[in-house]
Every structure is written in structure tokens, then in C-alpha cells.
């Protein structure tokens, strides 16, 4: 039983890593389920049981985290950043960003400051809470 859990965890982590890596691509449940070697029906349920949130929410937070980074580090337009991180429309981006961060992208950009530490820590610790 425990070995099976470890194996499942590791495969779910592989799918989560794929979201971290290819966040801007149109990832869907079938392709993530293939990476994790589970059925589509099983994938969302198991992912949630493993990490405490749905794959969709995880991907949204990853995209928003990347958007926060680009808002802090660049002067690119908000619309540009929206498409760059994988959102399909500025409306969805603004709504999701505000829902997760509690502020609009514009407000966030005004308040943010930039600091340089290894990128995996920035990624993990600046990821907005679900």
C-alpha cells in the first residue's frame, strides 16, 4: 500500500513539474494524465488528494506567479504578459489575478520590488496562495 502511494505521489509530482515547466502551453487533463500514467478520470482526483488543490488551480497559480515575476521585472504591457504566461484573454487574466493575489496586475506592479535569489525558491515562495 505505502509503495503504491509513493509511486503515485512521484507520478503526480512529474505532472506538476510539467505544469511548472510548460505553464504557458495549453495543457489539458488528457496530456497531464498521460505524463502521470493514470486515466483522465483518476488524474484530477488523485492530484487533488496528493497536493490539496485541483490541477487547474495549480496551473492558474503557476501562471499568476510567472505574471507577478514579469510585472516586477519588466515593463512589458499587462496584455503581453497575460498571453506570455498562458492565459487566453485579458479578462480571464485580470479576474484570475485579482482572485488569487487580491489586487489587480496594475496595482501589484506599482507595489512590487525585485530581488535576486535562485529561481526555484522565488518560484516556490512567491507563488500566490490558493
Amino acid at each position: 500500500m505505502s509503495r503504491a502511494t509513493e509511486d503515485t505521489n512521484r507520478r503526480m509530482l512529474r505532472a506538476r513539474d510539467a505544469m511548472d515547466r510548460a505553464y504557458a502551453e495549453p495543457l489539458d487533463v488528457p496530456s497531464l494524465a498521460r505524463i502521470a500514467h493514470v486515466s483522465e478520470a483518476h488524474f484530477t482526483r488523485t492530484f487533488r488528494a496528493t497536493f490539496g488543490e485541483t490541477p487547474h488551480r495549480y496551473l492558474q497559480r503557476r501562471r499568476v506567479e510567472r505574471a507577478m515575476y514579469l510585472l516586477r521585472q519588466t515593463d512589458r504591457s499587462i496584455t503581453d504578459i497575460c498571453f506570455e504566461v498562458g492565459f487566453g484573454s485579458p479578462g480571464t487574466f485580470s479576474r484570475t489575478f485579482r482572485d488569487i493575489v487580491g489586487r489587480s496586475p496594475r496595482e501589484y506592479r506599482k507595489e512590487a520590488t525585485a530581488k535576486h535569489v535562485p529561481t526555484c525558491f522565488t518560484m516556490a515562495w512567491t507563488r500566490p496562495r490558493g
Binding site: S2, E6, D7, R10, D17, D20, R21, T50, T113, P118
Partner: protein, 163 residues
């Protein structure tokens, strides 16, 4: 011009512990010699860390109560990484199981950072060996780096520092 408020606050905290503030206090430590990560299987860990990443075995000793297995970067034997298996009697079987589950979720905090002369070349070499990458070589303010996972869930990065 004044620095942003956040930066001032951070400095105020770190200055309290900086060398200057400590004055004549003697340095008590002079190196990090061992770091530790958990692995699920030490033979599989050797296959990965030595066979794929090219590290060297420093110690592989059966102590009876545990297998003391350490590796190091070639030509850097003074800094060892202990590849430890979670289990008894150090922890209960229940706790060991929790550690194994956290490890495979990528949540034990096992991180290793290596430096390399050529990040892209190292990436290609490891990719050809079937290593599981979490991030392709990426330009960062501090250099070029890439991320990967070991077979168990530990996170590894290697950086080509900015010249």
C-alpha cells in the same frame, strides 16, 4: 534617494548579524562538510548520482545500523552529500512512511545546487541519459541555470554563474 521600504527593513535585520556588527567574535565554523538528503533506495541513488550525474562515491560503509553512503563532486571531496534512507530506529515506521510520502511529493525540502562551467552542454548530456528535467537552461540575473529531479523527488539545480 532612499531605498524602498522593504529593502531597508531587510537590511536592518541582516545587519544585526553581519560580521561588522559581531565585531571581534571568533568565527566558529570554517566550512560545510556534509549535507544530507533522503532517498528511497540507496542503490538506485548511486545509479543516479554517480551513474548519471557523475558524482563520486566518497564513503559506502555498512555500519550495521545504517549504510553510510556519501558522494561528492569530482575533485571536491571536502563537501559530501549523505544519501540517507529514512527509517528505524531513528524514526518510527510511521514517521518514515510520512517522510517517504513527502519526499515523493517533492516536499521534504531536499535541494542540491551545483555549479557548472557550461549549463547548456551539461543539460544536453544529462538529457541524453534520461534525466527528468523540471526546467531547461534559463538565463537568470545570476547566470544560466536548469532544474531537475532525482528519481525520488529531490530538487536539483545547476548554475553556470555569470562571468
Amino acid at each position: 534617494m532612499d531605498p524602498p521600504a522593504g529593502l531597508t527593513a531587510d537590511r536592518a535585520v541582516s545587519d544585526k548579524f553581519s560580521g561588522a556588527a559581531l565585531g571581534s567574535v571568533i568565527h566558529m565554523f570554517n566550512a560545510i562538510t556534509h549535507s544530507q538528503i533522503y532517498v528511497l533506495d540507496q542503490d538506485e541513488a548511486l545509479d543516479f548520482y554517480v551513474g548519471k550525474l557523475g558524482l563520486e562515491v566518497k564513503s559506502d560503509i555498512d555500519l550495521g545500523f545504517m549504510r553510510w553512503l556519501t558522494v561528492n563532486v569530482p575533485d571536491a571531496p571536502d563537501r559530501e552529500i549523505l544519501l540517507e534512507k529514512p527509517g528505524g530506529p531513528m524514526m518510527s515506521e510511521e514517521t518514515a512512511q510520512q517522510v517517504r510520502e513527502l519526499l515523493t511529493k517533492g516536499a521534504t525540502g531536499g535541494h542540491l545546487f551545483f555549479s557548472t562551467d557550461d549549463c547548456r552542454k551539461t543539460y544536453e548530456t544529462l538529457l541524453a541519459k534520461g534525466v527528468e528535467f523540471t526546467q531547461e537552461p534559463t538565463e537568470q540575473p545570476y547566470g544560466i541555470d536548469a532544474g531537475l529531479r532525482d528519481p525520488f523527488g529531490n530538487s536539483i539545480r545547476f548554475t553556470q554563474p555569470k562571468a
